[in-house]
């Protein structure tokens, strides 16, 4: 039973990690119907930004809490800037092109950003400082769920609720939903669609940056390539949950994380990915739009 609980928490943490990245995928898809393959790289850039800021601040002897807050803000701002810029130069000019064109552009952006960080930084793995301390009150259960697991779980939950509130009850949220439903009509009723799309990229990128910082602190190392696998897994989770749906992204991530954790625990880690992707195939066969996705209406 202990073992089951250990795997359960391991799976929830892993799922929450995926969720922080998957939210960005799903938001962008919901608004402009584009799979933003460069999103994993935004996550990686967020991790690098927080790494640099945190390292500099710790040299000047800032307290840990201040380092975490400033590094998170800096990463969010910097990554958002990248997200918006990518949208402006790589996706906006292709908005009326066939759907495949922005997709290819996204893949190109992803490769470009990876190599850009490789050249601008280093190809080595860098040690990421432990930004989340070991809380004393967690010590009795540390062998099951650690402090960083707890922080990741709480952060993901808070982020999901905040996002839901934002989209349901605020002006920009309403504009987002309108743009998602029908971009032309939204424009006709006076919504600045470009601004709505930019806002979506800002929010998605900031979340990815936050995720990048937390996850890098959790695993203790970064390099230019971390965005690739994390991005693929988060994308899978978003599709699993129903791409375009925010609760779906979180649910899909948790399902994926738990599946991987239990597959490793009870079968073999050799088959971890086999189970994860078999699950994806099964769900898409029976529910092509994902767990919580809406069936897509053809826009003529």
């Amino acid at each position: 039973m202990d073992y089951f609980i250990e795997l359960l928490f391991g799976g929830l943490t892993r799922g929450s990690i995926y969720a922080l990245i998957a939210l960005g995928y799903t938001m962008v898809y919901g608004i402009i119907g584009l799979i933003n393959f460069a999103h994993g790289e935004i996550y990686m850039i967020g991790a690098f930004t927080s790494f640099i800021v945190a390292t500099v601040l710790s040299i000047y002897g800032f307290p840990l809490l201040a380092i975490v807050v400033i590094a998170a803000l800096a990463a969010a701002v910097w990554s958002s800037a990248y997200g918006v810029t990518i949208e402006k130069i790589a996706y906006r000019p292709l908005r009326h092109a066939p759907r495949l064109s922005p997709l290819i552009s996204a893949i190109g952006m992803s490769i470009f950003l990876q190599n850009y960080v490789l050249l601008a930084q280093t190809s080595d793995f860098l040690p990421f400082p432990a930004l989340i301390p070991e809380f004393a009150f967690m010590e009795p259960v540390a062998h099951i769920v650690g402090s960083s697991d707890l922080v990741i779980l709480i952060t993901t939950t808070l982020v999901m609720f905040a996002l839901t509130l934002l989209i349901k009850f605020t002006r920009i949220g309403k504009a987002m939903r309108a743009t998602a439903q029908d971009r032309t009509m939204a424009m006709l009723v006076g919504i600045n669609v470009d601004r709505v799309i930019s806002a979506t990229f800002v929010i998605g990128s900031a979340l990815a940056a936050l995720g990048g910082m937390l996850i890098a602190s959790h695993i203790g190392q970064i390099n230019f390539y971390i965005g690739f696998l994390a991005g693929i897994k988060a994308f899978t989770a978003a599709v699993l949950g129903g791409i375009g749906s925010i609760p779906g992204a979180v649910l899909g991530s948790l399902v994926l994380g738990l599946t991987e954790s239990f597959a490793t625990g009870y079968v073999s880690s050799d088959y971890e990915d086999v189970f994860a992707f078999s699950l994806l195939v099964l769900i898409l066969i029976f529910k092509p739009s994902g767990l919580l996705g809406k069936a897509e209406t053809k826009k003529v």
């Binding site: 892993r14 793995f125 540390a142 650690g146 625990g265 880690s269």
Partner: protein, 377 residues
């Protein structure tokens, strides 16, 4: 036609070999012919050319001293491009030219293809770089020796250390699904099983680059392993080691020279303390190693390339064996290689009955105070 020619050449070569084996009856001139075969052109030339240079330097050194038992040493260099089909030709050519001993070949595949030809001709072959375990362990080639550890030697070092030095009884073997890591893990598994003193409680691969290794770490704990042998590289190793510390586990972690890298210590930080890793033996304190490198720099004004020290050692071992045996007869040379210790850049070595150099190979290191320190087993 071709096989007929080969046969003729062969007979000639055999006749030559026999003639030379008879003491006193010196037919083929007054030189000892050291063949050097390996890749000297093509993609893998950088693996083979340092061997030629090593042989040239050693031969020059011997000849300056007056040769072996009064005979000068002559070099016969053949290029096999690391291709098995070319290697058989080079071997035949060398045998035809009356080669006495061969330094080479470089690649395992080419070596394997050439060995039967040398075996029939009664020529001792010593490779500085062919690491395929079967070359020696199959017992098919009594004329084959090497001055490099075989592919499975590293796994053997790790398993011996875990079982005999640390007394581990339950071993979890984890790998990164890559050629290097998985290969090593499979060798380790078979050595643990063969030892009979410990059991493999877990054998699994992890996905490199995954965001989280909690599940596999919990599994190691569940199977109550008292040592983990990891085959792979440092990024995964440091994630697993850190996660084990986070889950308050205190299990011995043993890994390979993919982890015996300062980056591992840098990335894993305090979590790296106490981790064991196997790595090639350190020759830097051996004066002969320094001397061989100096000789290369003096002659070629450049740093030596791949397998240079192994090749230098092999050339020394071969010529030393001929000198001690007083003949180039295969049985006598083999006996000398197995009994006469020789000082070489890779250490004071001799060869076991299968042909692997004793005293060449891997050592265990442990991270102590942020540095890898050699530990004795």
């Amino acid at each position: 036609m071709q096989s007929g020619l080969k046969k003729k050449l062969f007979v000639a070569a055999l006749a030559l070999g026999f003639a030379m084996a008879v003491p006193g009856a010196v037919v083929a001139g007054d030189t000892i012919k050291l063949g050097v075969a390996g890749a000297q052109s093509g993609d893998l030339a950088s693996y083979g050319l340092p061997t030629v240079k090593a042989a040239e330097l050693v031969v020059a050194q011997y000849n300056a001293k007056g040769g072996i038992n009064g005979k000068q040493v002559e070099l016969l260099v053949e290029d096999d491009v690391c291709k098995p089909e070319v290697a058989t030709n080079s071997a035949t050519l060398l045998v035809t030219k009356g080669v006495d001993v061969v330094l080479g070949h470089i690649c395992s595949g080419a070596t394997k293809a050439a060995l039967p030809i040398y075996k029939e001709a009664g020529v001792v072959v010593m490779s500085p770089s062919a690491t395929n375990p079967d070359l020696t362990q199959s017992g098919d080639y009594p004329n084959f020796f090497r001055t490099i550890a075989s592919d499975d030697a590293q796994a053997k070092t790790e398993v011996d250390f875990a079982i005999n030095t640390l007394g581990a009884k339950k071993i979890a073997i984890i790998h990164d699904k890559g050629d290097y890591g998985k290969g090593l893990a499979e060798f380790a598994q078979s050595f643990v099983e063969k030892s009979g003193k410990a059991e493999v409680v877990l054998f699994e691969g992890v996905t490199p680059g995954a965001v989280d290794y909690t599940a596999i770490v919990q599994k190691i704990k569940r199977f109550d392993a008292d040592a983990v042998i990891f085959g792979g590289y440092h990024p995964e190793a440091s994630k697993i080691v850190s996660m084990m510390k986070k889950k308050r586990m205190n299990i011995v972690f043993i890994s390979d020279d993919g982890v015996k890298d300062d980056t591992f210590i840098k990335v894993a930080g305090e979590n790296a303390e106490g981790v064991y890793a196997s790595g090639p033996q350190d020759n830097s304190k051996n004066p002969l190693s320094a001397a061989s490198i100096e000789a290369h720099k003096a002659a070629y004004n450049a740093d030596p390339g791949a397998f240079y020290e192994n090749a230098y050692s092999a050339a020394l071992a071969l010529l030393n064996a001929i000198e001690k045996a007083g003949s180039t007869d295969m049985a006598a040379v083999v006996k000398a290689l197995q009994t006469e210790k020789v000082d070489t850049p890779v250490g004071n070595i001799y060869f076991d009955e299968k042909g692997d150099a004793v005293g060449v190979g891997f050592a265990m290191y442990q991270v102590q105070n942020g540095q890898y320190v050699e530990v004795k087993n």
